[in-house]
């Protein structure tokens, strides 16, 4: 069983859902993000948030995958002040919806004053609502941007054990872990983490507070980032226990703090959900071993993600 705690499913196809379910993904977290095209109306942003708690949650359920999401104003669109102000008014209503496990993904892109303003405002909201936070760390000026994100979290009085710093790499992981945060790694070709590099990090750091995700989205990315990394790690001699921590348990531990995500959601769903919103899962139906091999052939050919 795997959890992919960062997957932008609005940008993915039904093939991906099938493939992920076949590979043993039982739950995923979809962070609110920049959909590639800037939104210029508050209403389009609101409808996007509605689709995360509504349609996409239902869609995932049809494939036997439990869908959770994080609600937030992303750093890119925080730079449109009129939009940002409007979105901020709506966020509290969405943050309390079912299956919302954190405020996120929030943080810095170009590290502008407006990004800083809305990052802080959303950290305050997370504190008020007692929700975990998913922090997106910037692609550019990454090391300083990551340190700064943690500085601001602490300045705003957040408990690091409620915050996931995502998109770590070899340069940022030490500080993230030393300061008490959860360290997310996005197994994403070219721009983020590769899974062979990830295995090396697991050898060095073990599994405590490390979380592997795919961050799959509208770009060239792989929705099997989590199961492929698990398989490569096991083949490389990483223990079952560590693999389970980084591909399942740690994500459940931190996002479970929201009270909106527990293993019984997929292992023992309420009867009303089984009738309406969740098609059950392959584990309970007693079928297959969750392995990358069970995914359709076109997906499994290349084990390495680089």
């Amino acid at each position: 069983m795997f959890i992919d705690p960062h997957a932008h499913m609005v940008s993915r196809t039904t093939d991906d859902y099938e493939t992920m379910a076949a590979a043993g993904i039982v739950a995923l977290v979809e962070p609110a993000f920049w959909v590639g095209q800037p939104r210029t109306f508050v209403g389009t942003y609101v409808d996007y948030l509605s689709s995360l708690v509504g349609w996409e949650r239902f869609r995932a359920g049809q494939f036997g995958i439990r869908h959770y999401c994080t609600i937030g104003l992303n750093s890119k669109e925080a730079n449109n002040e009129a939009l940002a102000e409007g979105v901020m008014e709506w966020l509290p209503r969405f943050a309390l919806k079912e299956g919302v496990v954190a405020i996120g993904e929030i943080g810095y892109d170009e590290q502008t004053p407006l990004e800083d303003k809305y990052f802080r405002a959303q950290l305050t909201l997370a504190k008020q609502l007692e929700l975990p936070v998913m922090v997106h760390t910037p692609h550019r000026d990454k090391k300083r941007g990551t340190s700064r994100s943690m500085d601001v979290c602490e300045e705003m009085g957040l408990d690091p054990s409620w915050v996931v710093i995502d998109h770590n790499n070899e340069e940022t992981v030490r500080e993230t872990l030393d300061r008490g945060y959860w360290a997310g790694f996005s197994i994403y070709p070219s721009t983020k983490m590769g899974n062979a590099r990830m295995v090396e990090l697991l050898k060095q750091y073990g599994g405590d507070r490390i979380i592997v995700d795919s961050a799959c989205d509208w770009g060239i990315s792989d929705c099997l980032g989590v199961p492929k990394t698990a398989q490569l790690a096991l083949e490389s001699g990483i223990s079952d226990a560590v693999v389970r921590q980084v591909t399942y348990e740690n994500a459940l531990a931190v996002y479970g703090k929201s009270g909106q995500m527990q293993a019984s959601d997929w292992l023992d769903p309420a009867p009303i959900d089984q009738r309406t919103l969740f098609e059950g899962n392959s584990i309970l139906r007693g079928g297959r071993d969750p392995l990358v091999e069970t995914a359709p052939a076109r997906r499994r050919d290349n084990l390495l993600i680089e």
């Binding site: 609101v46 509504g54 349609w55 359920g61 079912e98 309420a270 959900d273 309406t276 919103l277």
Partner: protein
């Protein structure tokens, strides 16, 4: 009307979740007295966090009382937290019209919440004013949302015009949903619907697909006027369930042609004639 429904709902909720009775009473009092929408949003968000999502436990007597409070109201299949949310909407009295508030709730609802909001439709104040939101729900691709309006809900029977009614029935068939749980299915049967459904059946057959035997229920009373005998004859030679459905439809048609067709399937016709086979138990019948 809804005062009684509300009383029933609150009674069932407190019976099943006595540990929350005080909290609920406080919250409901707040909603009815202060009428602040923020309080309502917060309460609706908190309910599933504090209360079980299990099914609302109802006795046959409860269902009888529900039907007396609002004819056709059938809360079987409701969840405990959903019932508490609907009770909140019925309790709330705010400055804006109910429909404006409802529109906002639908706009930001999560998947389960949508199902709940629509299940309560018939009980809300000024139900006619919710027509736009109901239309949105019918257009939903989320089957559970569509069914929350269509099944065990008297709202469509009481408030849909013929066009909307007919398209609801057609969509139910189209997505493989049952017709049996539609409240008022026989009362609202009409000639236009029979025509649409017969066309639909023929289109399916031409494509080599099957049709739901339940469809014949809406055609039966109009079999003569829409010239459905040939199609019914074909159904009469199909699977046991299809044969049963065709026999039920022909019995409802009650014309000389229908009666003569029934003579070609005497065993099935006998099951209908002596009451052993009805639309209510059709899908349970394995062999007829």
């Amino acid at each position: 009307m809804s005062v009684t429904s509300l009383k029933l709902l609150r009674g069932w909720i407190c019976r099943q979740a006595p540990e929350q009775a005080n909290w609920l009473a406080e919250q409901y009092a707040l909603l009815s007295q202060k009428g602040n929408e923020k309080d309502l949003h917060l309460f609706l968000g908190l309910i599933p966090r504090r209360m079980s999502k299990q099914d609302l436990v109802l006795s046959p007597q409860d269902l009888t009382l529900a039907n007396q409070a609002y004819p056709g109201w059938n809360p079987s299949g409701w969840s405990l937290d959903g019932a508490a949310r609907i009770a909140a909407l019925l309790t709330f009295h705010g400055p804006r019209p109910f429909s404006a508030m409802f529109q906002d709730l639908v706009r930001t609802a999560d998947a389960r919440e949508l199902v709940t909001l629509y299940r309560g439709l018939a009980l809300y104040p000024e139900p006619e004013s919710l027509a736009f939101e109901v239309g949105e729900g019918l257009r939903s691709n989320m089957r559970a949302v569509f069914e929350s309006i269509v099944h065990r809900n008297p709202y469509p029977r009481d408030h849909f015009d013929e066009h909307r009614w007919n398209h609801m029935v057609l969509k139910a068939l189209f997505i493989g949903s049952r017709l049996g749980p539609i409240v008022g299915l026989d009362e609202r049967a009409n000639l236009e619907l029979a025509r649409i459904l017969l066309d639909y059946a023929q289109e399916r057959w031409a494509a080599g697909r099957q049709v739901s035997p339940e469809l014949w229920r809406c055609i039966g009373p109009f079999a003569e006027r829409v010239s459905a005998y040939e199609a019914l004859q074909r159904a009469l030679t199909g699977t046991p369930i299809e044969r049963g459905a065709a026999a039920l439809a022909l019995t409802a048609a009650d014309t000389p042609t229908a009666r003569s067709l029934l003579l070609t399937a005497p065993d099935t016709a006998a099951l209908v004639a002596d009451g052993r086979l009805s639309w209510d138990n059709l899908t349970l019948q394995e062999a007829a």
